[in-house]
Symmetry: C2
Subunit: 125 residues, 2 copies
DNA sequence: CAGAATCCTACCTGATACTG
DNA sequence: CAGTATCAGGTAGGATTCTG
């Protein structure tokens, strides 16, 4: 996904690597759900991510599997059954994801507050 | 940027809000640089982000200004001089960014290791 | 210097149909 | 069930040129 992000010798390498791994549009969300819910099947993930398309979900899962973040377990059954879960390496993202989640709630409050303030400003005199 | 990410009543709200705020392709990187370098001018940011286009840099900065993450300080001079820095609210991202950076380095090691392992596998017999 | 404007492409979305 | 395939349409992002 990310390319052209190759600064040589820089301290930004870490962020860049993270962006390449989980910078996708849906990846943090999928990882967050797998982190909290444990193992999930494809259809369950679809239901938990109401607006994602099958194609997107498939591609995001495959990329993260490639990057060693998630494990794809195929049962040889009819009808097919496939389970997705975080790999051990994927689980090392838990603090990052938790931080992102926590900051998001702070950000929501912040935005509500600044909206309220600008409303006050506008009918102040 | 992100829309269609509106699950109602869910615990994913935090991640979703974070994704909307800093989910852009360049935002975490720009924020990381501003966090570590303090105040920077437009041209300096361009030089620190070798592959970003002016247009992208402008739009990302404007969006983050809108979201209250960064401060845009305009000097009324010729030639124009404009300084960007993190707002107080933007600075609350520091732990998230630091975590992302740290995880990125771990991920680089992980990927190198699994590459090495698969190389071993391939010429084992 | 810091950008605005334009154009262009690649990717994402949504719907639908098909397969093992 | 868990995909893959296809196509129309939109949006994010990239490249280039122009301006106060």
């Amino acid at each position: 996904m990310h390319d052209g992000l190759r600064e040589p010798n820089h301290r930004t390498q870490g962020i860049i690597a993270t962006l390449q791994a989980i910078g996708g549009k849906w990846k943090p969300l999928i990882l967050f759900i797998l982190l909290h819910d444990g193992t999930r099947r494809f259809g369950e993930l679809r239901r938990l991510l109401p607006h994602i398309t099958q194609g997107m979900l498939t591609s995001q899962l495959r990329e993260m599997e490639q990057d060693g973040l998630i494990v794809r377990l195929v049962y040889n059954e009819i009808p097919p059954k496939i389970e997705y879960s975080l790999s051990d390496h994927g689980k090392t993202l838990s603090s990052v994801l938790a931080d992102m989640c926590g900051w998001g709630f702070k950000h929501i409050e912040f935005m509500n507050q600044s909206k309220a303030e600008s409303k006050n400003d506008s009918h102040a005199e």
